[in-house]
Amino acid sequence: MHRFLVATVGHVDADDCYQETWLAALRAYPRLRDASHLRAWILTVAQRKAIDHIRARNRRAIPLAELPEIPVAAIQHDGAPELWIHVRALPPKQRTAVALRTVADLAYADIARVMGTSEEAARRNVHEALKRLRTEVPND
């Protein structure tokens, strides 16, 4: 779950998201009726927190007349910064789906469960994400 958050929101926000996810999960647990998909359930909570965080961060962003020259990798530096920066730049559904697939290693049925979509849509989101990354990430 923490890895999923680092991949989708970056290091700095991942820790906050992680705390919030667990607190939200603890809060919601008594209402959980079916505990057979706990992993998918906790990732459902996590991906909602990730989306909330990204929205809040975008709201906080101060519009500048001129963009400062900061190398992208310096903004969110982790192990493989470039790759994750491309992932984070994907449209939300693609970003979540591809991270659930490659970081959380979920089956398409579980990705569908987490994202509340059909399995077909889950497959398509992952496929679109990979297609886009293939064109955007420099080959080396």
Partner: protein
Amino acid sequence: MTDAIENALRRAAAALDADSPPDLDTEAAEAASLVDVAYARHDTPVGALILAATPRGLVRLAFADDDDSVEATLTQLARRVSPRVLAAPRRLDNARRELDEYFAGTRERFELAIDWRLTQGFGRRILRSTARIPYGSVSSYAQVAAAAGSPRGFRAAGNALGHNPLPIVVPCHRVLHAGGGLGGYTGGVERKLTLLAIERGSSPDAGPTRAGP
């Protein structure tokens, strides 16, 4: 249907493993009343213990000999009480203090609230009657069974004591075989001897002395 980019993502994801997740903010969880079972580790002369409490009281005490036994105890709590189990040592300050006093020989009676929910039926009656055996004295499985209203249930009594969820605090170590044998102990008979020796105010090597019939 794996390709280069997917493989690269999986490799990069594996590298994220090096970043361990932060510790959970248990204070925030506690403040919001989200903790059903608080637990703490505590070192004692009979080894490390794991203590767990619900809002009703102390619910579990177990010997924490290794990671596996700690894991087993926490899993039991998650399954049988609630999965909202968190390390929250402050909720166990009273229990830890009373245990320290007990091991220092300055406390003969625990005054902790007990949550008996991990016991039931005859087993609970056995443990409740065991809890009344005074400090420094011993009883037999048959006596404990009789006190629980079932004089012939000594075998079942032995079984209930073997599954005591609150050793030391519910002093199953004070129950011995009628013939003078030490009987068993979940944490090992060494510990049973040590606890009995502490209660006699002597070293553990002296062997048990029997009080009562």
